[in-house]
Symmetry: C2
Subunit: 350 residues, 2 copies
């Protein structure tokens, strides 16, 4: 099969890789229809995170089940399925509590599982899905192909933005500020709207992203950053700060900023993959009573709540894909996103 | 008046200080009946935190109103009152949201207020209470003097333990582990019981504290620490970790330990005054989905919920006072607590 691999900084290729085979009774083979490039893939692309040369890459996909092992009962060949960005066992304490992304025996696409087996990357023609009954969510048969980009966001980015909002306790009484205007930040804006936030302030300096933020439900756009951001937010909110901040970047600066933008006793929901060794000083939380929650999104927990909104057309989270590329042009998909020419790159595989 | 002052490490004295006077219409003068030594006072006592020599000290008190300014309407002379450990204005965004300890114009006993005026310490015969309508809570007239130690815990330590439990979302479905067996940790145990936790594991190696923890509702006592603590906790909890950890110490080690003792997606409620520059690595929260909340307790918010439990005798939080000293023997009260001969020292003032 053809699959995307990464050989070093800015060296993305599409190469032949072995077709995946069923290895265990719980496995399924899925033919990928759409995949995409994640902000965290750009970390590898930019050399901030290094992986062995030639690794497959990608962790978001919607596809069609090709074959299933003898132990699979919840999906069958021909069904369209969404795969969450991380795999879980469904039996550990964390999975049972609804936090599959903290599964004690979890694994990630394009990484080794607990048996040392390298899993396929999502940016390729096929993937083997371990524990398919657990790790695939079937889409109703009558779903239109036009929904594929929207459905793909349920694999990661929409659920990630939603997790930020849930972790910050967003509801009808919460004024929200969103730090980060990438696809995750925009998904967080949309999620805050879904959860009923009356005021959603998107921090953005880019016209295309600010426009999409407004389309997704932002009531205000704040271009200021750093020291200027708090007074600018207060000017919008009758002299006050927000009840919740959604941190969707992952740097020390963005976390510091998020904490400063909420009132004492407020909440920060964070989902930005932490870059470097960012830390939270305990003293700052102690003095402000700000609660910090978040992390890797529990896709399997939230996907069932969000899927009907996509299927009914109430939300269009796939609008974050502002450019589409065939699999063979994956290098262009990365480069365009790296240069911020597109918000998020869609890969059409089959 | 006579009042406790601190002149340097382990140099606590009882000295003459000026009687406080009404300065503003909202002020009240309170004659202190009981005060006590806080674990955070020991930081000053041990020289970990330094203050100008001769400073008054103490921030927990129950007393009787002596005089009130012309603007005071909610308390009157002769009433027994509890003062929270920090003072707040009642008007800012934080106060209105129920987080007076993060008040934008707040101040502390024995520290300068926002006008630069040094407030009295609670360990003395009298205190001036600014904004007395806000910062004093009256006790019903028929309350027995025998309740004074229990009532005094509502000034800080019980509310602080309770804040740890609330911040960690403790309820009937939560198995709780409490890090720290000082008066705050023991109050956290009691608070977890109040909130209905079915399993409360107190971490302690001291017989007297472990006994009181059990009296307060601990179902288990865990002597292990550090690397041995997690497997020991799992052995108690059917191989699992707790849903909530209450961090009641304030060191880097205790915070690290608390995070490690909860399952992925669990919560840490912390109230230990942070010693040194302790930090939380964002990556650790990201990977575990553990939520961190807490800080300085919002006494005015929680006191009304806890006061009836004290008045009815349902709880006896004053059991943390294992020794009592007259004001003039304050130095002994500090020394006994410093040497861990007592859990918490009561000062009987008048």
């Amino acid at each position: 099969m053809r699959a995307v691999t990464i050989h070093g900084p800015r060296d993305v290729r599409v190469e032949d890789r072995p077709d995946p085979e069923l290895r265990a009774p719980g496995d399924a083979i899925v033919r990928v229809r759409v995949a995409c490039v994640c902000g965290s893939d750009l970390w590898t692309y930019r050399g901030i995170r290094s992986v062995p040369p030639g690794r497959p890459i990608g962790h978001e996909l919607v596809g069609v089940v090709e074959r299933v092992g003898t132990g699979v009962s919840s999906v069958r060949p021909g069904q369209t399925v969404i795969a969450p960005f991380c795999l879980s066992d469904g039996t550990c304490q964390e999975c049972r509590a609804g936090f599959p992304s903290s599964c004690e025996d979890g694994s990630f696409w394009a990484s080794e599982d607990s048996d040392g087996e390298l899993l396929d990357g999502a940016q390729g023609e096929y993937v083997r899905v371990p524990l398919a009954d657990r790790n695939l969510v079937a889409v109703p048969e009558d779903a239109d192909d036009a929904l594929l980009p929207d459905l793909l966001t349920l694999s990661d980015v929409l659920c990630t933005g939603y997790h930020a909002a849930v972790s910050a306790g967003v509801g009808p009484g919460t004024r929200v500020v969103v730090v980060g205007d990438g696809a995750v930040g925009l998904s967080a804006v949309l999620s805050a709207r879904i959860l009923g936030a009356p005021r959603i302030v998107a921090m953005s300096r880019h016209r295309d992203r600010a426009d999409l933020a407004r389309e997704f439900g932002a009531t205000d756009v704040l271009p200021q950053r750093g020291e200027e951001a708090v007074p600018a937010l207060r000017a919008l909110l009758d002299g006050e700060r927000a009840e919740a901040a959604l941190e969707c970047v992952g740097t020390q600066e963005s976390m510091d900023e998020a904490i400063g933008l909420v009132r004492g006793g407020g909440r920060v929901g964070f989902v930005g993959v932490p870059a470097g060794g960012s830390v939270i000083p305990v003293r700052r939380l102690f003095d402000t009573n700000v609660t910090i929650g978040g992390g890797m999104a529990p896709v399997l927990t939230d996907l069932p709540l969000l899927l009907p909104l996509v299927l009914s057309g109430r939300i269009h989270p796939g609008r974050v894909f502002t450019a589409s590329f065939p699999l063979e042009r994956a290098a262009d998909a990365y480069a365009a996103m790296d240069r911020r020419e597109v918000i998020k790159s869609l890969l059409v595989v089959s």
